[in-house]
């Protein structure tokens, strides 16, 4: 189980590939991998966003992410997971978050992946400040995650 808080751009699919290749045990056992990638959009809640700054609470963020992973571990069988979160200045189209879960079977991988991203969004101390035109606004809260109800 690996948590990475990174301050510069990362390529999510490459990270998954490299991580998986490095874990020989994964290749042998994992029948299922579920991955979620969240990317910065240049458009949010009706306005054009030119950039974003992501603040976090060093120490607490990692602690809460570890807790979320422990919680997932009690509910689903996870062979491994990789969690990467960007902080600092982010440009549109760059990856913000990656959650990857490897399991024997698909149900565990899919459920745990969803639990991790949903829990991360409510538990882990990260804060987004969007640059809109000449001003910068703190994002008020996370959405439900569905197009139809935004």
């Amino acid at each position: 189980m690996t948590i990475k808080i990174v301050e510069s751009h990362f390529e999510p699919w490459q990270e998954v590939q490299i991580y998986q290749n490095a874990q020989a045990a994964l290749t042998d056992k994992a029948g299922a991998a579920a991955v979620f990638v969240g990317t910065m959009r240049d458009f949010n809640a009706g306005h054009t966003v030119s950039g974003m700054r992501l603040e976090y609470y060093p120490g607490m963020t990692e602690k809460q992410l570890e807790k979320v992973i422990s919680q997932a571990n009690t509910q689903w069988q996870m062979l491994d997971c990789l969690l990467i979160h960007r902080v600092g200045d982010i440009l549109p189209h760059e990856a913000i978050v990656l959650v990857a879960v490897w399991s024997f079977h698909r149900g565990d991988a899919l459920d745990a992946c969803r639990y991790l991203i949903d829990s991360l969004k409510t538990q882990a101390p990260f804060w987004k400040k969007e640059r809109i035109g000449d001003s910068a606004c703190w994002v008020a809260g996370n959405t439900k995650g569905y197009y139809a109800i935004e």
């Binding site: 603040e55 609470y57 120490g59 969004k121 101390p125 804060w127 987004k128 703190w138 996370n142």
Partner: protein
């Protein structure tokens, strides 16, 4: 007793500082610590509180050497 008080994100900006050192003589709740540190500003609705990097309720007692943090709803992911 002494605690470190930390503020993040919009709350940090609103207060114009990221931390306080607070000294007191009887145990205080998290909420009372806010009031001591920010006598002129009621704690904003939705403020989250953590002691030693775990979420707590406002009535929890804070101990000597603890780190307490106040911050707005989280918006990561």
């Amino acid at each position: 007793m002494s605690v470190k008080v930390r503020y993040f994100a919009s709350l940090r900006e609103r207060l114009g500082r990221s931390e306080d050192e607070l000294v007191f003589f009887a145990p205080l709740t998290a909420h009372a610590i806010w009031e001591r540190a920010n006598p002129d500003l009621p704690m904003p609705d939705n403020t989250l509180v953590a002691v030693n990097m775990d979420y707590v309720k406002l009535d929890v007692l804070v101990n000597d050497g603890d780190e307490i943090a106040f911050f707005p709803p989280v918006t990561g992911g």
